[in-house]
Amino acid sequence: MAKVMMKGNEAMALAAIKGGCKAFFGYPITPQSELPEYLARHMHKHGGVFLQAESEVAAINMVYGASGAGARVLTSSSSPGIALKQEGISYIAGAELPAVIINVMRGGPGLGGIQPSQADYKQVTRGGGNGDYYVLAYAPENLQETVNVIKEAFDLADLYRNPVMIAVDGLIGQMMEPVDLDVEVPKRDLPEKDWATIGTYGKREPVNVNSLFLDPQDLENHSFKLAEKYKLMKKNEQRYEFVNMENAELVIVAYGTMARIVRSALEILKNEGINVGLLRPISIWPFPEKAFKEFPDTVKGILTCELSTGQMLDDVKICNNGKLPINFFGRTGGMVPEPEEIVKAVKDMIGGLK
């Protein structure tokens, strides 16, 4: 199919439908409201359910219920709304239910603002909820990648029986660019949902969906089992892209919209004869630690660029493990830098390294 021009939020909604999503529960919030609005118009045509919940808290618990009953289910929100969902997300992870959650990030903390931001990195990758759990988290950089990963996300959620979060900034939600909704994405072999509460119909014993383990030994066993699952995700689901790494003297680590701006900056730098590479994490949990082992020897330092005051920085430090010097460049609160600012940060760092 030809590429169509779609607004990010609407493309995400359509991608979810194409990914087999059969139910959406959410609560309006800028800058993602076009997503539920699109589904309000279209979901029923695909035999799916659209319901506006009374709050984000209700929405995530509706997701829990619907997922527990075997449906492919989506919710979407933006930063403060995601904060409200944290207990629910922890429950979904604890009960090992699949679910896809889209976070169109805006500036914080608190009410903050409504302009694009990546200041939810920790909220997304560290779990704002209680207990030992993680969500698979992807941070695509353009609509095509966003659409593809959303379609895949429903499979991934089912495969691991775990929430999958798509974390994009408001810019990706609000922009339009050409996108092909029908690109094939990898399919996984999925087990049957024999754990889903759909009624016994006399065919099996009752099942239950649950995150409670009153006996601490049971809960520990459960947690260690989850930990094994997270290990497997770490092994299999790291996703990233290298750009211009050959002979790079510096590597920029950046994701989402920031990565696109870095791409522009790399071109400017190239024209000036400065060779800088980009490591673009696509999965932010698991963070692509493997990539750090693949840096060429020419690399003399790492510049982390984020639309925040520095949150992914922790992961970069952990993966770098003391090897290279690390600098940080960030804009936040909805400010989006121009490529020239990154060029300057690169030059400053290279200057400092000499």
Binding site: E54, N61, Y64, G65, V73, T197, T200, N208, V209
Partner: protein, 252 residues
Amino acid sequence: MGNVVFKRSNGLSKKEFSYCPGCTHGIIHRLVAEVIEELGVLDKTIGISPVGCSVMNYEFFNCDMQQAAHGRAPAVATGIKRVRPDNIVFSYQGDGDLASIGTAEIVHAAHRSENITVIFVNNAIYGMTGGQMAPTTLIGQKTTTSPYGRDEKHAGKPIKMSEMLATIPGATYIERVSVHDPLHVRKAKKAVKKAFQTQIEGKGFSLVEFISSCPVNWGKTPQDALNWVKDNMIPYYPLGNFRSPEEDDKND
């Protein structure tokens, strides 16, 4: 051998209840289980356990169950029912769960007239966490967080959920019952049956409020607790029907 006129319903699992001796949660479980079985819908019922003393009732009901976050059972029920409209869905919630932290969820399930059944167990206290004040705690009642007795000036008058929910257009069937003696137990069962029938007929939101006891946290013997239900709870929380589908049918 005689005719068995009463035996444990197949709607209940074999597992023993974890409740304190004389706790009426057990009676209420039995009624719900019997109704589901008698209506022939046990095999397509999905129940929702709250957070409260009945948190583990997913082990007691002999049907598919989901354990919900504290107060969110109506949202969980909504999620289930919307994707499985042909299943029978009920939630079972305490007064802390439903009338305090879960107020928004129950109001909006009623507001949307979700076609679900809610079993609301009002024992005027937080049983599971050790006897704190609930929104339904009576004036003067001593609890661990109203150690000098609930004071209206400080904490307001106890909230009457059935009355409040009955004002919501989507609340199709609302009734308050008690299980303090065999007569009332039998009446209560009728209400539960009617609630599930309302759902089976697709008529929307139904809720049965049980006045229940918590002998342990009330510091009373089981029987005294029932007497207290009769003498103190019911006068404040009058039993009866607050909304019924017939009434709505008339209005249509």
